[in-house]
C-alpha cells in the first residue's frame, strides 16, 4: 500500500498549486487551472508509478488504476468544495446568513435574491456565462437551448429519471 503515497503527494501538490493560483494569480476562471493541474498531476503519478512498479501482474495494474482514481477523486472533491460549497447556492446563503444579521428573515432573504434588475441575482450570475459558453441563446428576453445545452438537458433529464431525483435543481 506504500504505492498510495504517490497520489497522496499529488493531492497535497494539487491543493497547494490551486491555493497559490487563486491567491496570487487570481485568474478570472480558476477551473481551467484546476483542470490543468489535475491532468498534469495524473500524468505525473502514472509515469512515476510505472517507473517504480512496472505492470508485471494484475495487482500492479489494479494498484495503478486505484491510485489514479483516488487522486482524481480527491482533486474533484477539492474542486467541488470550491465551487459547490464556497461558491454554490446553499453555501452562499449560509455565508449571507452568517455575515449579515439583517437577512435572518425568510422574506428579506428572498428579497435579497430578487434584486432590483430585470433578472434575479441567481440568473444574473449564470445567464451571461451560459450565453458566452454557447449553452443557451438569449433574444428579446427569451431563452432557447443551443445544441450543446440540449445534450446536457437530455442527459440531466435521464439522470432525474434513472435515479428518481424528481426535478433536481436543489428543490425537494
Amino acid at each position: 500500500m506504500t504505492r498510495l503515497l504517490l497520489p497522496l503527494a499529488a493531492i497535497v501538490v494539487f491543493f497547494l498549486l490551486s491555493l497559490i493560483t487563486v491567491r496570487v494569480a487570481r485568474p478570472r476562471d480558476p477551473k481551467r487551472f484546476f483542470l490543468a493541474f489535475a491532468l498534469l498531476l495524473l500524468a505525473g503519478t502514472a509515469v512515476a508509478y510505472l517507473t517504480l512498479w512496472p505492470l508485471a501482474t494484475i495487482d500492479d495494474a489494479l494498484g495503478l488504476v486505484s491510485a489514479l482514481l483516488v487522486q482524481l477523486l480527491a482533486c474533484l472533491t477539492m474542486w467541488n468544495a470550491f465551487y459547490s460549497l464556497l461558491w454554490g447556492f446553499s453555501g452562499s446563503m449560509m455565508f449571507d446568513l452568517f455575515n449579515d444579521p439583517s437577512l435572518l428573515n425568510r422574506e428579506r432573504l428572498i428579497g435579497s435574491y430578487v434584486g432590483d434588475g430585470p433578472v434575479d441575482r441567481i440568473l444574473a450570475r449564470r445567464l451571461p456565462n451560459l450565453e458566452r459558453g454557447g449553452w443557451v441563446a438569449i433574444e428579446h428576453q427569451t431563452l432557447r437551448l443551443r445544441p450543446k445545452g440540449m445534450v446536457m438537458a437530455v442527459g440531466t433529464l435521464a439522470a432525474f429519471k434513472l435515479f428518481s431525483l424528481g426535478m433536481g435543481g436543489g428543490v425537494k
Partner: protein, 169 residues
C-alpha cells in the same frame, strides 16, 4: 487482454453495478436520501468486492491486489456521489431541463421565473437546511442559525477568505 485494459474494464463494470444498484434502490425507496444510498451501497459492497476479487478480475490476486480493487470500488462510489450533485443540486442544469420541457423549447425570463424562480429556490434550500438542523425558521419568518449552521457559515466564510472569493451567487 492486457493488464491495464483489464483493470479499466473492471473499474467501468464496478461503477455501472454501483450506479444500477443505487438506481434500483432509489426507485423502490423514493423518499430515501440518494447520497446516503450511494455511501451505503459502496461501503456495504466493498467487502464483497474484496472477497470476490479474483472472480471479478478473472485472475488470482494477492491481498494487496484485493485491497486495491476494494479501494477502486470505494473511489468509484465517490465519483457517483459527486456525479449525483450535478443533476440533484445544480441550478443551471435545472434551467436546461425547464427549457427542454418547455413548448418550443424556449422560455421567456418571466416564464422561467414562474417555473423555477427565486422564491422556489430559496424556499426549498431553506427548508432543506432546516431539516438538516442548520437553522430554524419561526412561523413569522425569523431565521436562527443553529450550531451546525454556525459552523457551516464559519467554514464558508473562512474558505472564501482563503480562496479570495469576493462574491458569489
Amino acid at each position: 487482454m492486457n493488464l491495464l485494459a483489464r483493470a479499466i474494464v473492471v473499474a467501468i463494470a464496478l461503477f455501472a453495478v454501483q450506479a444500477l444498484a443505487v438506481a434500483a434502490i432509489a426507485a423502490v425507496r423514493r423518499r430515501a436520501n440518494v447520497y446516503a444510498l450511494i455511501v451505503v451501497v459502496a461501503c456495504a459492497t466493498a467487502p464483497l468486492v474484496f472477497l470476490a476479487g479474483p472472480s471479478i478480475v478473472g485472475r488470482p490476486l494477492s491481498t494487496e491486489g484485493r485491497a486495491f480493487l476494494a479501494l477502486m470500488h470505494l473511489s468509484l462510489g465517490g465519483f457517483l456521489f459527486h456525479f449525483m450533485t450535478l443533476p440533484d443540486r445544480s441550478v443551471t442544469l435545472r434551467i436546461f431541463v425547464e427549457l427542454l420541457l418547455a413548448p418550443g423549447r424556449t422560455l421567456t425570463l418571466a416564464a422561467l421565473g414562474s417555473r423555477y424562480g427565486v422564491r422556489t429556490m430559496v424556499g426549498s434550500r431553506l427548508d432543506q437546511l432546516e431539516q438538516g438542523h442548520f437553522l430554524s425558521i419561526r412561523p413569522d419568518g425569523v431565521i436562527t442559525l443553529l450550531p451546525r449552521g454556525q459552523r457551516f457559515g464559519r467554514f464558508v466564510t473562512a474558505g472564501r477568505r482563503l480562496f479570495n472569493i469576493g462574491s458569489a451567487n
